[in-house]
């Protein structure tokens, strides 16, 4: 039971890391390799507000989310939209967006380095134990899990119950046809990219309450997010959530029952198996 709760909580963390990338890749078709740097930037903002003014990361979210939204919107409009317009095919857009965002990742690291230096930043927020069913868990992790659950629910509701969400899903499923039914593809892509970025930054702020980050740690998170997004199936948020939870439970199970040293191996084994037997991911559409 302990394994399941710990696993779910870890899965929630992974969902926070991967949800933003899923939206950016699935809807805007941008494989954003600077995703991890954005996450770290969100964490950095939370750290800065906490150490400077004891402002709770929960409140910092109010600043981080819109800030990241605007930043990502500008990045899309200025840097990525020209690539989208120029690309003659889906594959070409993916390649050029990978290259562009790869460079953007280095720029992000450099900016953070210049602003705050290269040190690790770590702080203790709500690092108190909370007892659930007889075992102790970190309060900050539980809160991050609940926040992840709320965010996932909100994203799901928005995508499936609102008109804009329906247009966005149309964009994800058939971008070429969407424009025929009056969907403003360009504007919605920018919007989706910005929202994905805001979610990532919020995830970063929440994660920073229990993880130690430094400006160079972004790449690890990008890698994790990539694995989860591909395992879950591109373009469907349910897939990301399921993949994240599954990964969390698997890693915790392996660490508890077998050996903590095998967690990485188990995670990538799962990834390889999914790619072998269901390459489109759990909820993805089979590529014809």
């Amino acid at each position: 039971m302990e394994v399941i709760i710990t696993g779910l909580v870890l899965g929630g963390t992974y969902a926070l890391v991967a949800l933003g990338l899923n939206i950016q890749y699935g809807i805007s078709r941008i494989m954003n390799l600077a995703n991890g740097e954005l996450l770290v930037a969100g964490g950095l903002a939370a750290f800065w507000f906490w150490t400077a003014g004891q402002i709770s990361p929960m409140l910092t979210l109010v600043i981080v989310a819109p800030g990241a939204f605007v930043l990502n919107y500008l990045i899309y409009v200025i840097m990525l939209r020209p690539l989208v317009r120029r690309a003659k095919s889906q594959g070409e857009l993916e390649v050029s967006s990978i290259l562009a965002t790869f460079g953007l990742a280095f720029v992000g690291v450099g900016i953070m380095l210049a602003l705050v230096g290269g040190q690790y930043f770590s702080y203790s927020y709500l690092s108190r134990p909370i007892e659930i069913l007889g075992s102790n868990y970190g309060l900050n992790r539980i809160i991050a899990f609940l926040a992840a659950a709320v965010m996932c629910a909100l994203v799901y509701l928005w995508l499936h119950k609102s008109r804009m969400g329906m247009s966005i899903r149309a964009l994800a499923v058939a971008p070429d046809s969407a424009v025929l039914v009056g969907v403003n593809v360009e504007r919605l892509s920018a919007l989706a990219f910005a929202i994905g970025g805001a979610i990532t930054a919020v995830g970063g702020a929440l994660i920073s309450t229990f993880l130690t980050l430094d400006p160079s740690s972004g790449v690890l998170f990008t890698l994790k997010a990539l694995v989860i997004v591909i395992m879950g199936g591109v373009g469907d948020t349910r897939g990301t959530i399921v993949a994240a939870l599954l990964l969390g439970i698997l890693e915790t199970f392996v660490a508890t029952v077998f050996d903590p040293g095998l967690t990485l191996a188990a995670a990538y084994l799962l990834f390889v198996l999914v790619l072998l037997f269901r390459p489109q991911g759990f909820f993805g559409k089979p590529t014809s």
């Binding site: 380095l113 203790s124 868990y137 970190g138 969390g248 508890t256 903590p260 967690t263």
Partner: protein, 397 residues
């Protein structure tokens, strides 16, 4: 009028000429270390501020006195991105293109080992400060101009065994030890040399595991360690997991009277993140905190760079620069072979105390274990340094 004008002109010109005659030559010192990549966090605390501080200190007292000339210090910095290939390229560039007079040793064992052949090929003295290796004997044979100051893995692990043995003798802890390590070179090496030393000292390792670098949830590790009911918890860990294990130990309320985490426990950020819970935590390093040498160094470090030094390698980084500085001045020449020979043949008085070399160009007296006591990470065990204070049992979180 014309006479006055020409007199003034002559005066002005002679002032300018006199000024340029007094203008000083500079010595180029290369500095290659991570600013990005996996070790950037550590280098940002331990290495780069000391480069800035040392250059400032030397220039503030008029520069280096070599023979009858004085030289100001100029630092040429390179980011090696924690990539050994980049370290090698940067050192090569410093040697061949930038014509650096001397090159400061890189950061961390791996990058130093990668750069050693290049330092040797171009004949630069290499006074390392963060290279911890048990291969010192082989290395010093291959690279006669390489000097070691921070110790070896066996010594570091031995220090922990020594501290725990003392605590056991005083009845503060029992016999059982839970030992975990990060699955990276340093963590693995330390675990390998520690296990036999623990057993030889009569300790019982009741739980032992390794975990991958970058593990974000260490609760399975701490839960399992707690279930084994240890008296002491020892983690050969890296900064992110040092912080993570500490946080988890608090959450699980791991009630051990001795809690040790290797790397980053000595960072000011550790105290910052943990506050009062850091009290009594053991880690690698330590300093003679009450000594005048350390206190004045720490104050100057904070004043000049704006950041506090860490309590392990920071001091040794600065000391290694002092060694280079004293050797250049002592040898009275910029000839690198002469400077290396001078380092080899002499002892040095640094902020860490006196540093002398054994037959393997190794400083065999280094701090092994420190403990947070009253907001200061004091040295509690060393292989021969003065100023150790007794270790105290941990009183909860």
């Amino acid at each position: 009028m014309l006479k006055l004008f020409s007199a003034l002109t002559v005066a002005a010109v002679s002032v300018v000429l006199a000024g340029s005659a007094v203008a000083q030559d500079t010595l180029k010192f290369g500095a290659v270390a991570p600013k990005t990549g996996g070790l950037a966090g550590g280098a940002a605390v331990t290495f780069w501020p000391n480069v800035q501080l040392w250059a400032h200190d030397v220039n503030a007292r008029g520069g280096l006195q070599v023979g009858d000339k004085s030289y100001m210090v100029e630092i040429v910095e390179y980011d090696d991105q924690t990539n050994p290939g980049e370290t090698i390229k940067a050192v090569q560039r410093l040697a061949t293109q930038d014509n650096a007079d001397f090159i400061l040793a890189p950061y961390g064992t791996g990058l130093n080992l990668a750069a050693a052949p290049i330092f040797d090929r171009y004949g630069y003295p290499m006074v390392t400060h963060t290279a911890i290796s048990d291969q010192i004997e082989t290395l010093s044979e291959k690279f006669p101009n390489m000097f070691f100051t921070l110790g070896g893995a066996t010594g570091l692990a031995g220090g922990v065994v020594e501290v725990l043995s003392q605590m056991r003798e005083q009845g503060e802890i029992g016999n059982s030890v839970a030992m975990v390590n990060v699955a990276d070179a340093f963590g693995i090496e330390l675990a390998e040399v520690a296990a036999p030393q623990f057993e030889a000292a009569g300790f019982d390792i009741v739980y032992s595991t390794s975990y991958p670098l970058g593990t974000s949830d260490l609760s399975p590790v701490v839960k399992a360690a707690k279930a084994a009911n240890p008296d002491a918890f020892v983690a050969w860990s890296y900064p992110p997991d040092t912080f993570g294990l500490t946080a988890q130990a608090k959450i699980e309320n791991l009630d051990v009277k001795a809690f040790y985490a290797a790397v980053a426990t000595a960072f000011p950020a550790y105290l910052g993140a943990n506050g009062a819970s850091a009290e009594g935590v053991l880690g690698a390093g330590g300093v003679y905190a009450d000594g005048e040498a350390w206190s004045s160094y720490a104050a100057r470090h904070e004043e000049v760079t704006g950041a506090k030094p860490d309590f392990w390698a920071s001091g040794m980084v600065y000391a290694s620069f002092q060694i280079l500085e004293q050797a250049i001045e002592g040898a009275g020449t910029l000839d690198r072979d002469a400077v290396s020979a001078y380092i080899d043949a002499n002892d040095f008085d640094t902020i860490m105390g006196e540093i002398s070399w054994d037959e393997f160009n190794n400083n065999s007296a280094y701090w092994t274990v420190g403990q947070w006591q009253g907001g200061v990470f004091k040295g509690v065990a060393s292989t021969g340094r003065e100023g150790a204070v007794p270790a105290v049992p941990k009183q909860g979180w």
